[in-house]
Symmetry: C2
Subunit: 383 residues, 2 copies
Amino acid sequence: MRQIVAEDLEYLAVGAAILGTGGGGDPFIGKLMAQQAIVEEGPVTLLDPEELDDDALVLPTAMMGAPTVMIEKVPEGMEAVRALRAAERRLGQKADATCPIECGGVNSQIPFVVAARARIPVVDGDGMGRAFPELQMETFHVYGLSGTPAVVADERGAIVTLETPDNVQLEWLARGVTIRMGGHSHLVDYPMSGADFKRTAVRGTVSMAMAIGKAVVTAASRGVNPIEAICEATQDTLYGRAIPLFEGKVVDVERRTREGFAVGRAVIHGLGRYRGSELVIRFQNENLVAVQDGEVIASVPDLISVLDHETGFAITTERIRYGQRVTVLGLPTPEIMRTEAALRVWGPRAFGYDIEFVPLERRFRDYYQRYGVPNEKQKYLTA
Amino acid sequence: MRQIVAEDLEYLAVGAAILGTGGGGDPFIGKLMAQQAIVEEGPVTLLDPEELDDDALVLPTAMMGAPTVMIEKVPEGMEAVRALRAAERRLGQKADATCPIECGGVNSQIPFVVAARARIPVVDGDGMGRAFPELQMETFHVYGLSGTPAVVADERGAIVTLETPDNVQLEWLARGVTIRMGGHSHLVDYPMSGADFKRTAVRGTVSMAMAIGKAVVTAASRGVNPIEAICEATQDTLYGRAIPLFEGKVVDVERRTREGFAVGRAVIHGLGRYRGSELVIRFQNENLVAVQDGEVIASVPDLISVLDHETGFAITTERIRYGQRVTVLGLPTPEIMRTEAALRVWGPRAFGYDIEFVPLERRFRDYYQRYGVPNEKQKYLTA
């Protein structure tokens, strides 16, 4: 248990943008909303999952829709709280805690808005351990929880409560409602018990995002390279150490909007020890696959983040452009994201790439033999 | 109070198709569903509005979406009952009765499905007194009721509960959900008290539709002209007597589907005493305006129905076609549909026609002086 103050949310924003792997939305407005809520209501308690009662009610909260819309249609601030209240009313029970559904991008912040306003804690964990575009792409779905009753709310006071036995239909209906609410909304889904959270969530992602963000932000004052700082900050986590995959200059970007997604690819020409080599990153909101000189070197659900070479700050797929000097970082995803059931939902094939998922620890065994991996990932170091 | 049996629903289907003024959907599948429910569960009580307690809870029930879809995606049968149960749960109160939101077309039947299954009565009245395409086109909206909490349900078990202070947004969101449910859904909206029903509903429309239908169906065996039978059946109602406007042959139909509506016009060349004259009917799902030789002779919210000349059965705007021999009937709408507030929602201008609404009783004063009008319509007979 720890108390989260406004400054922590600065770090969370920077770290969550890196876990956003190019997507998840710029956390800036979400951060301002959460900081204002904390300034007005006081600090928020961040609970370790083990501190949560098994029969506690956890209501995950998030924003849904196009983050680009949020910049012009600014949230009113209480949407997610109204969604929480409507879900409580439907369930006949008060929420004991909230949590992110995705800890990448803007959705790392929304639970802090809700937690401050409703005076409940945030549990340290989420349903993706990164960012993904759809509501069924959550560990909560993969491990058998119902996404509903779910609630979608807008800034004008509309509240839509969805119930369906099919989590894919939940995504379909909630997306339709969100579009008709003007392109973005606030959301409660996958209401669950504390026991369910412990069984299905990716743990520790909120505090890890804060630690990554703090490492980046304070790197310059500590005289540390920010990329190196990220690698160190991830060393002792569930994920395992981040690995620099490539360095270079963005020489080409193709991007188009298809069915509400930013789909495209970025081409990076190598610099330094990567000179003469080319990396292509394919994305759909998030970076999905990295291909070096024709060979796949990383893919979903492992995290592929494009960072500013100087500052270590994440560059989203909307903002990547010609001439940027970047470092591409890989971050192995936790094992809960790599089961057969999980890969069916968000492995490369779920996004239309006919390739096997190969974990970063196996592809870059030398690196991980040098630095070590979490216990449950030891299997990747042997042949 | 009277008991409605399966045979009454035959009459209701025929009469409601006439009140549907070309739209509202073919009642056939709705009728089968309602008849099956009555055969299995027993007759349904039809309550006069005055028999309803002021503090009773009335939950109107309906189908939403394209009736054309319903023919291929047949309802499972309990959708509207699930919607009713969800609304009851949200309101914390059991429904004492249901009613139609529109008594034209298929939606005249849905409340009988619900009433039989849930063992509650149907109240004799509705929110349109005819058919209209959108949820805010209800007297319940015009006279200040909230459309929500509303519930939309599909045949797969999905339940969507909508709450918004804005009835136009209710239409927008419910339409979006309905589209994503595959094109049609079942609905509860405008939950209201008995007192609200008495204040805002168009009364007696269910029994009137049955009377019209019975008059048409039994005309041949009684040796009566079916058109004449309709005129007689409407004589002593809130509407006033129907008036034959035109007879002829359909010579041209233009129809296209725009934003989910069937939009177009039908051209009818006169026969008999109308020989040498031409009637153009413009429609958007429902018949909106009738223009004889360049002069408007009838418009919304008065009812314009195109009937088979021989049988008196209604011809919908999807089925009207070259060569049909038709009689066009006008039916004056009740006064509750003609207030300034009401005409803003469904007068000719609400559908894009820059014309004044002129009541049929004023336009055809001779006819109505001959046959008489309801008391509250006496004003139209004086100059």
